[in-house]
């Protein structure tokens, strides 16, 4: 006898008339999924701005955001696997893709994107792999030996370091970054399409959904890269202070580099933020103006049931406040950090309000459903689709980055 669990019943409260089979079937992990893919896409676009459009001011950020988007890659898939009722069958999306489904493209789009990111990293780091392999040659110790083998494999046998070969690498990086931008946009835009094409859901169905998703994805991706970079620089500064004292020139240098980069990157952030909010507002105004059958229930959800989540937390705290913080002259590191955290929170709330908000009302338009996020898990279901599952997803890219950074140093390594 299997354990009898009605999926969704655990965390769904029904109010009014809701069809018997309706529950919050898409919960926190489906909030995490577009959020995480958004971070991946955003981080990659940021690194491509340097490689393709030669935005020199992003040079320092480019390498880091590229490696970070590699660490985010497996994490974009994690929420989906945690959400599937039959996770072991997930591979079927690659085996028998039914292309009339927006999800079916996931395997192919995602793999294409992964291939581009990994290849780009390979071209960026190939010279480094070869140098490491040469430097480690003949060094004693099992660890060094093992490391050398790893680097040897990573070179894929391409040891050439001539000027011509290095030039070819750079060209390849540029081409891959250029292809990568539309693919990253597509990866995330189509995550928006997954929702926007569900005609049964009055809140989701909108042709603007993919574009809104791309914009907010780029916003969250840039914000996360900036924030992570900021934290790492602070750590280095802290170490420099410990080693050399507060007034040392190297500390001042670090501070200057950090602040300069933050000011420049935040301009891009604000640009995309404005685009995202404009589109969301357009969507809202259009729904209000056209007053289709669903508007009555949508209005009560937006302005009563979920008012705090949408207008206070998402638009107010998540968009307006950080926008003002970044706009006030005399930007400081602390203010930037607060603004970035708020932006990340705002995009998360946007995902929440779309995914959970779209299920907050019944298909009957006569009732509501409330989602109680399971905090302390008491079975696998409440772990996977609860706070703990979400935190696992959040923690994973940082753990991965820690590991990957040992092989592909993206913070200290300078090529010249």
């Amino acid at each position: 006898m299997h354990e009898l669990i009605v999926h969704g019943a655990e965390w769904t409260d029904k109010i009014g008339f809701v069809y018997p089979n309706e529950f919050i079937y898409w919960s926190i992990q489906i909030v995490m999924y577009p959020y995480m893919t958004g971070l991946v896409a955003g981080a990659f676009v940021l690194s491509s701005l340097y490689h393709v459009f030669d935005q020199k001011d992003l040079k320092e950020m480019a390498r880091f955001s590229l490696v970070f988007s590699l660490c985010l890659l497996p994490v974009a898939m994690m929420p989906l696997m945690l959400h599937l009722q039959q996770p072991l069958r997930g591979i079927e999306v690659m085996m028998t893709p039914h292309f009339t489904s927006a999800i079916a493209a996931f395997g192919i789009v995602f793999s294409t994107y992964a291939v581009i990111v990994i290849s780009e990293i390979w071209f960026v780091y190939r010279v480094f792999f070869v140098e490491q392999s040469k430097a480690l040659k003949g060094q004693p110790g099992l660890a060094n030996n093992f490391k050398r083998i790893v680097y040897n494999v990573l070179t894929l046998g391409a040891y050439e370091l001539s000027e011509e070969a290095v030039r070819q690498d750079k060209k390849a990086v540029k081409i891959l970054a250029a292809i990568g931008i539309p693919v990253a946009g597509f990866l995330h835009g189509y995550a928006g399409f997954i929702f926007g094409s569900v005609k049964a859901n009055a809140l989701w169905m909108s042709p603007l959904m993919p574009v809104i998703f791309i914009m907010s994805a780029v916003v969250s991706g840039i914000a996360l890269c900036m924030l992570t970079y900021l934290i790492i620089m602070e750590w280095q500064k802290f170490r420099a202070i410990l080693a050399k004292g507060r007034g040392d020139a190297s500390v001042e240098l670090l501070r200057g580099v950090e602040m300069d980069l933050m000011t420049k990157t935040s301009r891009y952030l604000m640009m995309f933020l404005v685009a995202a909010i404009t589109l969301e507002m357009l969507d809202l105004i259009f729904r209000g103006y056209t007053q289709m059958k669903s508007w009555d229930i949508l209005r009560t959800v937006m302005f009563h049931e979920d008012f705090v989540k949408i207008f206070i937390l998402q638009y107010g705290l998540g968009n307006l406040v950080p926008f003002i913080l970044l706009l006030i002259p005399g930007l400081t590191i602390r203010r930037t950090a607060i603004a970035l955290v708020l932006v990340l929170f705002g995009v998360f709330m946007m995902r929440w309000n779309v995914v959970i908000g779209g299920q907050a009302f019944s298909l009957s338009f006569m009732g509501y459903m409330h989602y109680d996020l399971p905090i302390i898990p008491h079975n696998l279901e409440t772990f996977k689709e609860g706070l703990m599952g979400a935190l696992t997803v959040v923690a994973t890219p940082f753990v991965l980055f820690w590991g990957v950074n040992k092989l592909l140093p993206s913070l200290t390594f300078r090529k010249q």
Partner: protein
């Protein structure tokens, strides 16, 4: 050494070849477009037969009649003739081998499904003979006075 640029590409092609090989092994041979279009008919064909093989649980009055002819005949002339035996006696699947006896639902709740009076104008429910279960002999099984097989007859 000239074309080191293409190395990742060879790797990708190898991965695709591997994927296709796995696909060949994993996907059932009858998987394909079997209906009117790819949109609505892309599936494993043998699943249709899987569903057709699903066992019946409710076997119908004709099945009951084979052994319980007098009961079915008695019921056949009553107002309750449209009610399937299995609605009260439970699905006959496996009976009389296993289970030998069917669990009979004698609860008031069963009768109240139709005979709890609801004041609904325009609905057939309002026209059915009904009672207020809280006033009409509460707690007493209906079958003590009313014969469910032939409700016009007293219980003999």
């Amino acid at each position: 050494m000239k074309n080191h640029v293409l190395r990742p590409l060879w790797l990708v092609l190898a991965a695709i070849a591997l994927l296709l090989a796995v696909r060949y092994l994993v996907v059932p041979s009858d998987f394909g477009v079997n209906g009117r279009s790819f949109t609505y008919g892309f599936h494993r064909l043998s699943n249709v037969a899987d569903w057709q093989k699903f066992p019946d649980k409710y076997l119908g009055k004709e099945y009951c009649q084979d052994c319980h002819e007098e009961k079915v005949t008695e019921n056949g002339s009553s107002k309750h003739r449209n009610i399937q035996c299995e609605n009260c006696h439970g699905p006959a699947y496996g009976h009389p081998d296993n289970p030998e006896k069917l669990p009979i639902d004698r609860s008031r709740e069963l009768c109240l499904r139709c005979h709890s009076q609801l004041p609904y104008p325009g609905s057939q429910r309002g026209q059915l003979k009904g009672i207020d279960p809280e006033r009409h002999n509460p707690g007493q099984p209906c079958a003590e006075c009313h014969n469910p097989h032939h409700p016009d007859q007293e219980v003999g």
